[in-house]
C-alpha cells in the first residue's frame, strides 16, 4: 500500500536497483538512513530486483514509508493489463529498433527514447506482442546494423556481433520495455538511486506527469559498468553491448534529472565529464553516527579490511600487500571481513587459491560477514582498502569514526575523504600500499595521530545529521512542499 498523501507532506517515490530493502550493503544503509531520518516526507519504495520471488525485506520500514510494488527484471511476469485488449492491438513494430538506436547508439536521441518508453507504459500488453513479431525483429536488426556502422572518433569502431549476441540484446531491450511498462504511483518527487535500470520507470513518470527527478549516485553507474565489462571474460560483442547499454541508460538519467546528488566530489567530476550540467550537481556526502569519545588503536598489529569479496575491491592486491607487510613486520595479522558478492564466487575462490600460493594463510584470514563492523574496526591497528573503484566508502568513514588510521587506494572519493588523515597510495601499487601499512604498524604514534585527525574530520564533515540536513533541504525544494521547522 502506498502511503496516502497527507496535507503539507510530500510523497517521494524512491526507486532502488538490487539494493534496499532486499539486500544489505552501503547503498541500502544509506536508503535506510534517509527514509528513517526524514520523517517529513512520505516515502514510496519501488525496488527493481532480478526477478527473484519471495524476497524478504531486510529493513523494517518506518510508518511513513511503504513498498509500492516491485519490478522483476528477468521473470516471465507481465505488467498489469490496463486497457481493453483490442486497444492494445495497435502495435509499434519499430519499438525495439527505436530502443536500440537510442540506448545503444553513440548519439541516441533522448526524445525518441522517451516517446518509445511512454508508449510501453500506455500499452503494457502490447510490449510482448510487439517483441514477438517477425517484423519488429527485422527492423531491430536493421537498426542494430546502423548503430554498428556509426562512425565517431570517441566511439571507436564497433566489434562484429553474431546472431546470438543480437538475440540476447533483443531480449535485454525487451526487459527495458517491460520495466517502462510497469505503472508508478502518484507522487510529488522521483528519487532514483542509480543511473541504470532504476531510471527507466522514473523517465516515463516524469515525461507523463512532469514530476521532478533527483538522481543520487553512490558510484558512477556507467563507470562501474565499464569496469565490470573490462574485467569480464565476455566476448567483445557482449562487452560492447553491456557497456553501451549502461551508457545509454546513464545518459538518459543525466538528461532527465533535475538534480544529481553524488556522494563525493570525485563522482561529481565524472558526472561533469560525462556531460551533466554543473548547475544540476549538488554533492551530499554520506554520513555516519560517530562515537563521542576517541580511543587509541590497541597496538595488536592487526590490519582489518571490511567489504565484499569482489574484483572491484582488488582483494588479490591486498593478499600481495599482506605478504609484503608480513615480511617487513613479522607479527602483522590481516583480517578480511565480508562475503563474496553474489555471482563473484569464482573470484573469491581465486583469491583463496592465491592466498595458498603466497602462503599467507597463517596471517591472512577471510572472516566472512559481520553484523558489528564497529567492533571489528575498533579492534584494528590499521584499516586497509585496496579498491580500484569507490564512491564514498562507508568502511573508511567507519574506521575514521572509530579513530583508526586508514591506508586506502586513491580512487573515487577516497582522497577527498582521507585528506590529511590517512595514507593514499595508487591503486594496484603493492609496494606503495605495503609501505603505507608497515609505516603505520611500526610507528604507533603516527597511527594514533592520523586516527585522531580522522575522528575529528568525521565529526566535522561526515555526520548523519549533515547528510540528512542536505537531503531535507534538497528534497523539500524539489518537492515544493514547505517543511516543518
Amino acid at each position: 500500500m502506498s502511503p496516502a498523501k497527507r496535507a503539507d507532506r510530500a510523497r517521494i517515490l524512491m526507486i532502488t536497483e538490487g539494493t534496499y530493502p532486499h539486500a544489505m550493503g552501503g547503498v541500502s544503509s544509506w536508503c535506510d538512513l534517509l527514509i528513517s531520518g526524514l520523517e517529513d516526507f512520505d516515502w514510496q519504495i519501488l525496488p527493481i530486483t532480478a526477478g527473484e520471488r519471495s524476497q524478504t525485506e531486510l529493513y523494517e520500514l518506518p510508518p511513513h514509508a511503504a513498498v509500492v510494488g516491485r519490478i522483476e527484471l528477468w521473470s516471465e511476469q507481465l505488467p498489469r493489463r490496463r486497457m481493453p485488449a483490442n486497444a492494445q492491438r495497435r502495435g509499434r513494430e519499430s519499438l525495439p529498433a527505436e530502443l536500440v538506436r537510442t540506448l545503444i547508439g553513440w548519439k541516441g536521441n533522448h526524445g525518441e527514447l522517451l516517446d518509445a518508453l511512454v508508449w510501453c507504459r500506455l500499452r503494457p500488453q502490447g510490449v510482448r506482442r510487439v517483441f514477438r513479431g517477425a517484423r519488429a525483429w527485422e527492423l531491430f536488426l536493421k537498426a542494430l546494423a546502423e548503430v554498428l556502422a556509426e562512425t565517431d572518433p570517441d566511439a571507436g569502431p564497433a566489434p562484429r556481433l553474431d546472431a546470438v549476441e543480437a538475440a540476447r540484446l533483443y531480449q535485454t531491450i525487451y526487459w527495458i520495455a517491460r520495466t517502462a511498462a510497469v505503472p508508478t504511483p502518484q507522487t510529488d518527487l522521483l528519487h532514483v538511486t542509480a543511473a541504470g535500470w532504476a531510471t527507466v520507470p522514473a523517465l516515463v513518470h516524469k515525461q507523463l506527469f512532469g514530476t521532478d527527478m533527483l538522481l543520487t549516485e553512490h558510484g558512477v553507474y556507467v563507470r562501474e559498468a565499464y569496469l565490470a565489462a573490462a574485467r569480464s571474460p565476455a566476448s567483445q560483442g557482449e562487452r560492447f553491448l553491456n557497456s553501451r547499454l549502461a551508457r545509454g541508460l546513464s545518459r538518459a538519467a543525466y538528461t532527465a534529472a533535475d538534480f544529481v546528488a553524488p556522494v563525493t566530489e570525485a563522482n561529481a567530476a565524472w558526472e561533469r565529464g560525462l556531460g551533466v550540467d554543473p548547475q544540476k550537481i549538488r554533492v551530499i556526502h554520506n554520513g555516519i553516527e560517530a562515537p563521542a569519545l576517541h580511543s587509541d588503536p590497541p597496538g595488536n598489529l592487526k590490519v582489518v579490511s571490511v567489504g565484499r569479496i569482489d574484483p572491484l575491491k582488488d582483494v588479490q592486491t591486498m593478499l600481495r600487500v599482506a605478504a609484503e607487510v608480513h615480511r617487513r613486520v613479522p607479527g602483522a595479522r590481516f583480517e578480511y571481513w565480508g562475503p563474496p558478492t553474489k555471482g563473484q564466487e569464482a573470484y573469491a575462490g581465486a583469491c583463496k587459491e592465491l592466498a595458498q600460493r603466497l602462503g599467507t594463510q597463517e596471517y591472512f584470514q577471510f572472516m566472512g560477514s559481520t553484523r558489528d563492523p564497529h567492533s571489528v574496526v575498533r579492534d584494528a591497528d590499521v584499516v586497509l582498502m585496496t579498491s580500484i573503484s569507490e564512491g564514498l566508502p562507508m568502511s573508511i568513514l567507519e574506521a575514521m569514526a572509530q579513530g583508526r588510521p586508514v591506508v586506502a587506494t586513491g580512487v573515487g572519493g577516497v582522497p577527498e575523504v582521507l585528506h590529511g588523515c590517512g595514507i593514499v597510495p595508487p591503486p594496484g601499487d603493492v609496494h606503495a600500499i605495503a609501505t603505507g601499512v608497515s609505516t603505520l604498524l611500526r610507528d604507533p604514534q603516527l597511527a594514533a595521530q592520523l586516527g585522531k585527525r580522522g575522528f575529528a574530520r568525521v565529526h566535522r564533515c561526515y555526520t548523519q545529521k549533515a547528510c540528512l540536513d542536505g537531503y531535507r533541504e534538497l528534497l523539500g525544494d524539489l518537492a515544493g512542499v514547505p517543511l516543518a521547522a
Binding site: 571507436g156 546470438v164 557497456s243 580512487v411
Partner: protein, 451 residues
C-alpha cells in the same frame, strides 16, 4: 570531445601522455580501448589518473580498428533440466503401466463401466494438472522449490477439485480422484528422485488387487501414502532457491492444452478404456516410450539453437535454413519418436497372447499419432504459441468426437476416430512449427528468449 560531446583539453604538443596512456590500457586489457569511456575508466582505476584528465586523455587513445573478432560465449546446457524431464516421463510410464495392470482386477471389483468412466475423467484431469504444474513450476531448474512456495494454495485448490469430482461424479468420480492423486503425485515424487519407491508402491498395489483384496481400501491407502510422500517431497526438496515461477495465465493455458490432449486419448469409445482390460494401456506403451525419447532429445533445442547460431552474422541467422540447428533437433526428435513407436508396436503385436483382441494395427497407429501431436503441441507451447497449441489440440478433439458419433455403430477399425482427431491436430500444428524452425535466428530471439 567528451563522451557526451563537450570539448576537452587536448594534451600538450609533443606530449608523450597519450602514448603512455595507450600503453597502460594495452597492459591492463591486453587490447586497445573499446571507446573513450573505457579508456578513461582504465586510466583512472589502474593508471592513477584523475577522472577529468582520464576523460580528456581517453579520446586520444581509442584505436581506429576494431579488436580481433571472437564469437559469443554460451553457458553450458543445463543437464538437470533434461534429467527432470526424464524423471517426469518415467512417472508417466509407470502410471500407464499401472492403468494396464490394474484394469483387469479393478474392472472385476468395481465394474467395467465405472472403471471406464473413471479413466475417461482421470486421464484428461491428470494431464491438465501435469501440464499446468510443469509450465509454472517443474520446467524451472529449481522446480520443486518454486512449487514449495505455493504449496498451501495449491494443496487447497487440488483438494477442492478432487472433492468436486467425488461429490458430483459418484463412484467413478471417487475412483478418478484417486487416479489423479496417484498419477500427479507420481510426477512430483519422480521429480524428487523417488521414482523407484513410487514404482514399488504401484507394484504392491497390483499384488493386492490381484489377490482379491478390497480395491477401494488398497487404492485409498496408496492415495494417502502418495499424498503424504508428495507433500514431504515438496516440503523437503525445495531448498532456498529464489528462481521465479512461471506466469499463472500461461500455466492455465498449458493446463487446458493438457486436458485437451487427455480428451483426445479417451474420446474414442472404440478404444475400450476399462472395458478391454490391460489392452489399451499396453497398446499405448510403445508410443509413450517413443515420445519420452523424442521429447528428451527435443530439450537439446534450448542449447543447440544458440550454439548453431554462434559466429553467424545476425542477418545470416535470420535467413531460411532447412538444415539449421533447430530443424536438425526437430527431425532428430521426430525420428526417435516414430522409429521407437514403430519398432515397439511391432514387438507388442508379435507377442500375440498379450494383445489378443487389440492387435489391430490401427490402435497402435492411433496412439502413435497422439504421441506425435503431443510432441508438436508441446513444442508450440514451449515456444509460447499457446493459443495455437490449444487450438490444434481442441480441433483434434472436436474431430475425434464428431467421427466417434458417425462411426459409433460400425467403426471400420478400432481407434479410427482417434487417428482422425490426432491427424487433424498434426496437420494444424506442423506448419506453424516448421515456419518458425526454418528461421533459427528469429525463433531464438522472438520465441525462445521472449516467453
Amino acid at each position: 570531445m567528451s563522451p557526451n560531446g563537450n570539448r576537452t583539453d587536448p594534451p600538450a604538443a609533443g606530449s608523450h601522455e597519450p602514448q603512455h596512456a595507450a600503453g597502460v590500457i594495452e597492459a591492463r586489457l591486453g587490447r586497445g580501448a573499446q571507446d573513450v569511456l573505457e579508456a578513461a575508466v582504465v586510466l583512472e582505476a589502474w593508471g592513477g589518473v584523475r577522472a577529468t584528465r582520464a576523460l580528456s586523455l581517453g579520446s586520444h587513445v581509442v584505436p581506429p580498428k576494431p579488436p580481433r573478432w571472437l564469437p559469443s560465449r554460451l553457458t553450458g546446457e543445463e543437464p538437470e533440466r533434461r534429467e527432470s524431464i526424464l524423471s517426469e516421463a518415467l512417472a508417466l510410464l509407470m502410471a500407464i503401466l499401472a492403468v494396464a495392470s490394474w484394469a483387469g482386477p479393478l474392472s472385476r471389483q468395481v465394474g467395467a463401466s465405472v472403471l471406464e468412466q473413471a479413466i475417461v475423467i482421470a486421464l484428461p484431469a491428470t494431464l491438465a494438472f501435469q501440464w499446468a504444474i510443469r509450465s509454472r513450476y517443474l520446467s524451472r531448474r529449481d522446480g520443486l522449490a518454486c512449487l514449495a512456495r505455493d504449496r498451501l494454495p495449491l494443496l487447497g485448490a487440488g483438494l477442492l477439485a478432487l472433492t468436486a469430482l467425488v461429490t458430483f461424479m459418484g463412484r467413478s468420480g471417487g475412483l478418478a480422484a484417486i487416479f489423479v492423486t496417484i498419477w500427479v503425485g507420481g510426477t512430483i515424487l519422480a521429480r524428487r528422485g523417488w521414482a523407484l519407491p513410487y514404482g514399488l508402491l504401484l507394484l504392491g498395489t497390483l499384488i493386492g488387487l490381484e489377490s482379491g483384496r478390497d480395491a477401494y481400501a488398497w487404492l485409498g491407502g496408496l492415495t494417502a501414502i502418495v499424498l503424504i510422500a508428495g507433500l514431504t517431497a515438496v516440503w523437503t526438496g525445495g531448498g532456498q532457491s529464489q528462481e521465479p515461477a512461471g506466469r499463472v495465465g500461461r500455466a492455465l493455458w498449458a493446463g487446458a492444452i493438457g486436458a485437451a490432449l487427455g480428451c483426445l486419448l479417451v474420446g474414442d469409445p472404440s478404444l475400450g478404456w476399462g472395458v478391454h482390460g490391460a489392452y489399451p494401456g499396453i497398446a499405448l506403451l510403445p508410443s509413450v516410450i517413443g515420445s519420452v525419447w523424442g521429447g528428451y532429445h527435443l530439450w537439446k533445442l534450448y542449447d543447440a539453437l544458440p550454439r548453431g547460431l554462434q559466429g553467424m552474422a545476425p542477418n545470416e541467422g535470420d535467413e531460411r535454413d532447412p538444415r539449421g540447428s533447430a530443424m536438425k533437433v526437430f527431425l532428430g526428435s521426430l525420428l526417435r519418436l516414430v522409429g521407437t513407436t514403430v519398432v515397439l508396436s511391432g514387438l507388442v503385436i508379435l507377442i500375440g497372447q498379450w494383445t489378443s483382441g487389440t492387435n489391430r494395427l490401427s490402435l497402435f497407429v492411433g496412439f502413435g499419432c497422439v504421441a506425435l501431436v503431443t510432441m508438436l503441441v508441446n513444442m508450440l507451447e514451449s515456444l509460447a504459441l499457446v493459443r495455437w497449441a490449444l487450438f490444434a489440440a481442441l480441433a483434434g478433439v472436436a474431430t475425434e468426437l464428431s467421427c466417434s458419433e458417425v462411426l459409433l455403430v460400425h467403426p471400420p477399425v478400432p481407434g479410427m476416430a482417434l487417428i482422425a482427431g490426432a491427424g487433424v491436430g498434426i496437420l494444424l500444428s506442423l506448419p506453424p512449427l516448421l515456419k518458425l524452425l526454418l528461421r533459427p535466428g528469429r525463433v531464438l530471439a522472438t520465441n525462445l528468449w521472449i516467453q
